[in-house]
């Protein structure tokens, strides 16, 4: 079996990065201090962004670097500033979750046995619409970045839905913790008290 040099390098970089990711994930499992956990999750995001670059997904990599290492780390830090610094020791048995994970993992690995090899050009994933986009995008959209042309044009409706989801999640956060909802409930409480008082007056009368 012949493996060419670039493919060998690429595969080894992939596997090294994956191994580092797994090590970071294990460290996150073991550490109790939440500050360290959050920082490690930033490291995890950065490593996965690197992995996405080696897997040719540059658009995904730039997103993951900005979102995972930037914004979500800040959000988690502000959360632990608002809550607690470290995790309590759990008294639950650790064996059952471990067992569940092993069984699920084994089932998933059994599932991958049918997969085409990594990087196989004749894999079913490349057979249908993916290659079609690459061919037609030149004529129809004329935008060099095919990811943009699919995101914004071929699957524009899909993206509209995603933007709506982001918007909705933002509204949800505002409702939960920005105090916009609290003002309303204070007014409600005042209204309830008022009603009770009025009823009391009516009963007296």
């Amino acid at each position: 079996m012949e493996i060419s040099f670039p493919v060998f390098i690429e595969t080894s970089i992939n596997i090294i990065l994956f191994a580092m990711l797994v090590a970071t994930a294990f460290a996150i499992t073991r550490i109790d201090r939440l500050f360290a956990v959050v920082m490690l999750s930033g490291v995890f995001s950065m490593l996965s962004a690197l992995l996405f670059v080696t897997l040719d997904a540059v658009d995904v990599a730039i997103t993951e670097a900005a979102v995972g290492a930037g914004v979500s780390t800040v959000l988690m830090l502000s959360t632990i500033a608002l809550t607690e610094r470290s995790e309590q020791k759990s008294h639950r048995p650790e064996l059952i979750p471990l067992l569940v994970c092993f069984v699920t993992g084994a089932a998933l690995i059994y599932g991958t046995l049918d997969f085409p090899n990594f990087g196989d050009p004749s894999a079913p994933a490349h057979a249908h619409v993916g290659g079609d986009y690459l061919v037609r995008s030149i004529k129809e959209i004329d935008v060099p970045n095919v990811v943009t042309s699919i995101l914004a044009s071929y699957r524009g409706f899909d993206t509209l839905g995603e933007v709506a989801v982001v918007f909705t999640a933002g509204i949800g956060v505002l409702m939960l913790i920005s105090g916009l909802g609290r003002r309303r409930s204070d007014e409600d409480a005042a209204l309830v008290e008022e009603t009770i008082e009025n009823q009391g007056i009516e009963e007296d009368a």
Binding site: A81, T83, I177
Partner: protein, 147 residues
């Protein structure tokens, strides 16, 4: 607070503008290189969040007040959906950008993609900043010395 972290404050002042410029680059060069509305929105929000972390929430809310952020969140979705409605009004399908330049469909596509990516960027910027304001506006349970 204001007498501490001199280096951080100077570097932040230098960086905020650069980060915003990079966000605009990622936004409007997204057709040619990696990037687009989602990434640019997050990067733009990161500039404001950095400013807020270093100079305090009050300083950043003077620049970008919360009521404006809430409007901006909705504005992006409206821009996006508005492009779709506009193409319907021109007699084409929803979000069919060929409508904008029927003689030269790929130009129409370019314009449509540019506008909707801008809408995406605006919404994502707004949502990320709004979420940051919501978290940072709460009273912290852990004091600064405890870190």
């Amino acid at each position: 607070m204001h007498y501490h972290h001199l280096i951080l404050r100077v570097i932040t002042k230098l960086l905020v503008g650069t980060i915003m410029l990079f966000a605009f680059y990622v936004q409007f060069h997204g057709d040619f290189s990696p990037g687009g509305g989602f990434q640019a929105g997050v990067i733009m929000a990161a500039a404001f969040i950095l400013y807020g972390i270093v100079f305090g929430l009050y300083a950043v809310q003077v620049v970008f007040p919360p009521w404006l952020v809430h409007k901006v969140m909705a504005l992006g979705v409206l821009i996006y959906a508005g492009v779709g409605v506009y193409s319907m009004m021109l007699g084409y399908a929803f979000l069919d950008y060929n409508a904008f330049d029927p003689g030269h469909p790929s130009h129409g596509q370019h314009n449509g993609i540019l506008v909707i990516e801008f809408g995406v960027g605006v919404t994502v910027t707004g949502v990320m900043i709004a979420i940051y304001y919501a978290f940072a506006g709460r009273f912290p349970q852990i004091s600064d010395e405890d870190w």
